[in-house]
Amino acid sequence: MSAQSLTTKDLSVFYGEKQAVKKVSMDFPEREVVALIGPSGCGKSTFLRSLNRMNDLISGARIEGEIWIGDQNICDPGTDVVSLRQKIGMVWQKPNPFHKSIYENIAFGPRYHGIRNRKQLDEIVETSLRKTALWDEVKDRLNQSGLALSGGQQQRLCIARSLAVQPNILLMDEPASALDPVSTAKIEELIAELKKDYTIVIVTHNMQQAARVSDRTAFFFLGDLVEYDDTQKMFTNPSKKSTDDYISGRFG
């Protein structure tokens, strides 16, 4: 199996005694966008964060089950979490650029992984910024602080930053929910562009966004995966009643 495909088998996540995700088995086909929807607290963000083992950082969090990337189960205790996270990029709801220049924000990850050559770094910075359509907007001020950018630009900078370490998979946790409609549209265009190269998992509270950007949609409720199908089918003819209720706004 390719290193870009992602599969979970009976994945459960616990915070102390509380089970936040209940035995979820999903397939994420390579180079497709999967949207995770569901009301707040349904476990979709927790599920997302377990895919690159970010939950390890929360004390009391525990994972059961299997997560397969290619032919590697990343829940194995022997997994090198550090190189795993390099392969799975992540973007958060709130843009979190580092308190450094635009250039350094991008070059930061590659530097972690031992790239020192200035020319090589320049190249990575330019490609990453081009991929996120940010290059033309910032190429003359790469030395300015990343915090000086607008919210939408900051978010694209964060996406560019995660691309700079050459991941195969991108996890996005409500990447546009803190942005204005124009910036949101740009992020959505970007997602459509990025899925040519990356497998993308996106958590969103915006139904239209899920319908627009994703190939498949999964509906989570109270830690359970209720339904997972082609986006087209999920939004027109879901097979579970609760999915239909949620999508049409009758609860949640």
Partner: protein, 309 residues
């Protein structure tokens, strides 16, 4: 809950007593706060004025030049002619406090990293109270411990008598450790969580995240802690006096008797008569201490502005 009746607007207008009560209440509160602030401002200004007026007298009317005091090497206030070279004291003060900061900074930063990143629970419940305890120990106790533990250790380990700048700096470094650690810990705790997650998500190890992301981002705040530590060390008199030896010259090694601004003041103050040249010269030293404190406060302000940016 009962909503106010619709005629409440008339109530507001027709109850002069209540209105007067509110006005009086505001007035009393205002008067009290203004009084306290005024008292504070007067106190600060009169201290500065007093020190400045006494401390400037030797230069203005008693024929001592500022240059001689700042760069002179000999301190002989009762000699003929009297000499007021304060450079050895200045050197001693700077050497001890900066050396103390050099020792305390890495210890404090590491303690802060440990308490915020590595073992937050143990740090909060055990290490932090322990370090805060250090701040509560009286300086005479530090001096005593320094004299009976640190000085003999240096005497047996290095050439020299053990007393001196190194002994002073060692004692001071423990004394300023709480300041450095507390401020560093607060700085690291107040970093946005997203930064750390962002770094980890790029495939950084914890160590990389700490020394390439967390420490550089918090650097201005960390330096604020160090500067405040230096300021505290600069002003500390008793503990240093007990271990430094109090010889008024610039030492040739760190393990040779030296002295500081504060210890020369405490030592000589009782032996001079108020208004004499010697006494006023000590006030000049106090003025130098005060100006240094202003400088430290200024540096802290500049650093704080950098944090906000």
């Amino acid at each position: 809950m009962n909503l106010p009746a619709p005629n409440s607007r008339e109530d507001l207008a027709t109850k002069p007593n209540k209105f007067r009560k509110h006005v009086m209440e505001e007035l009393r509160g205002k008067a009290f706060v203004y009084f306290c602030v005024l008292l504070l401002v007067i106190t600060i200004f009169s201290i500065v004025y007093f020190i400045a007026s006494r401390g400037l007298t030797p230069f203005l009317s008693q024929g001592v030049s500022i240059k001689d005091m700042l760069f002179g090497l000999k301190w002989k206030p009762e000699g003929n002619p009297p000499l007021f070279g304060a450079l050895p004291f200045l050197f001693g003060s700077f050497a001890t406090s900066i050396l103390a900061a050099v020792i305390a900074a890495p210890l404090g930063f590491c303690a802060a990293v440990f308490m915020t990143e590595i073992m937050p629970k143990f740090g909060k419940s055990a290490l932090q109270p322990a370090i805060e305890l250090l701040a509560g120990i009286p300086s005479v106790v530090y001096g005593f411990v320094g004299l009976s533990v640190v000085v003999p250790f240096y005497r047996d380990t290095f050439p020299g008598q053990g007393i001196g700048i190194m002994a002073g700096a060692t004692v001071l470094s423990i004394m300023i450790l709480p300041t450095v650690t507390t401020i560093a810990t607060d700085a690291l705790r107040s970093l946005p969580n997203g930064l750390k997650e962002g770094s980890y998500a790029l495939g950084a190890t914890r160590w990389q995240t700490i020394y390439r992301m967390i420490l550089p981002t918090a650097l201005p705040s960390l330096l604020t802690g160090v500067v405040l530590g230096i300021a505290r060390a600069f002003g500390e008199a008793l503990a240093v006096q007990m271990v430094i030896g109090n010889a008024p010259h610039i030492p040739h090694s760190l393990f040779e008797s030296a002295t500081t601004l504060t210890s020369i003041i405490t030592q000589s103050m009782g032996n001079t008569t108020s208004g004499s040249l010697h006494n006023n010269a000590l006030w000049s030293l106090a003025l130098i201490l005060l100006l240094m404190t202003f400088l430290f406060v200024f540096i802290v302000r500049v650093l704080e502005r950098r944090v906000k940016r």
